[in-house]
Amino acid sequence: MNWTEYLPPLLEGAWVTVQLTVYSMVLGALLSFAAGIGKLSPNWAIKGLSVVYIEIFRGTSLLVQLFWLYFALPLVGDLIGINLRLPPVIAGVLALGLNIGAYGAEVVRGSLQAVPVAQLETARALNFTRRQTLWRVALPQALPEMMPPFSNLAVQNLKDTALVSLISLGDLAFRAEQIRNFTQDSVTVYTIILFMYFGMALVLASFVRGLEFWVSRWRARA
């Protein structure tokens, strides 16, 4: 088997990896903002929920979370009489999104806390409500600060998608393992997919850089 023949199945796997990355990134971004803002809430219930979520998903291993959702959650479902048998794609996206969202939440919280107090006081003097202050004053100024760490998390998330191959989802890492099993040509296969991941990471990072440029368009440029 010539190495070019590996490419069609690998590209198929790469497409699955791209989809997983996009879906879990969207979920993770939503959770980042929800929990990051929630952790600063004066409402103790919202604050508590956010802290517990962040601590659990930052405090345990992603693979443990993935296995728990895929293998253990159905048993919880049996106990309470609901079918919680998740298809691998759902379990994968959930685990990836929940995990990266917990890290992202700390980024959101940190960036919000870095907004100068004077800006918040000015919003108060102009009689903005708490919510208006958050959406109109604090978040727009915090967004540019979030982008560099978000870029790292996005690449982290892309790399983490490889773990879903362990619950037999046909992503890039899974296809590579199949081909290796079949051909024993491990050097070629793994070299190819390492470069494929590398390429995807570069594209993803430049996408986030574009996003950073867009959210900081109001800033002075050196």
Partner: protein
């Protein structure tokens, strides 16, 4: 049966949990060993990368920069498989644990090399200029002025990566390393009860990372921010 211990089924979850705890703890020991070994390699290899990036030769700097970026942007799982299947083809046959620790070390060396660089760059340029004004040699400036101020920044950052490494150890289960998640998976496969062992692994991890993060914070606070009095 695992590691000479028997699991107790049919007597409720609590009895089952109690019976598998010793096995999970033995798995946890392997997890910690892998963390330490991986961290050790990452600390050394990262230092080498950081030094190469300061090389006088532009080619060396560029190649190192590319390698570090490449290692950082590709999945640990794939790097692990690569080492696991490719090293033997070059006649290097390592135990699974060693391959796993090596993969952890290689992946995280990309991060630690950045920590060294950032730590040294964080020392204010005025310090270097002051040392030059005092006619200190380059070497003495580095060992007596730069390093003592950089180390208190570097060590806590390295500590945080040690915690990250610990959370990545379960990936080594794919090459048959019997760390804690793999032990739980085996128990689950045998007893068809995944809920108890996986939940226990989650709880053990939570405790372990809380302790580790606390230790890193203690360390951070113990280090003098004004610089370490090296002799």
């Amino acid at each position: 049966m695992l590691f000479g211990y028997e699991w107790v089924t049919g007597q409720g979850d609590l009895a089952f949990a109690a019976s598998i705890l010793p096995m999970l703890l033995l798995g946890l020991v392997v997890t910690i060993q892998a963390t330490v070994a991986g961290f050790f390699i990452a600390v050394i290899l990262g230092l080498i990368f950081a030094a190469l990036r300061q090389s006088r030769f532009r080619v060396v700097r560029y190649v190192t920069g590319f390698v570090v970026e490449f290692l950082r942007d590709t999945p640990l799982l794939v790097q692990l498989f690569f080492l696991y299947y490719v090293l033997p083809e070059f006649g290097i046959v390592l135990p699974a644990f060693m391959t796993g620790a090596l993969a952890l070390g290689v992946q995280y060396s990309a991060y630690t090399s950045q920590v060294y660089r950032a730590g040294i760059e964080a020392v204010p340029p005025g310090q270097r200029e002051a040392a030059r004004a005092l006619d200190l040699t380059e070497r003495r400036t580095f060992t007596h002025v730069i390093l003592p101020q950089a180390i208190p920044r570097i060590i806590p950052a390295l500590g945080n990566y040690a915690v990250s490494i610990m959370k990545d150890v379960p990936i080594l289960s794919v090459v048959t390393v019997l760390e804690v998640l793999n032990v739980a998976k085996i128990i689950g496969d045998q007893t068809f009860n995944y809920l108890v062992p996986f939940t226990m692994v989650g709880a053990l991890y939570l405790v372990l990372t809380l302790i580790a993060s606390y230790l890193v914070r203690l360390l951070d606070r113990a280090l003098p921010k004004t610089g370490l009095p090296l002799r």
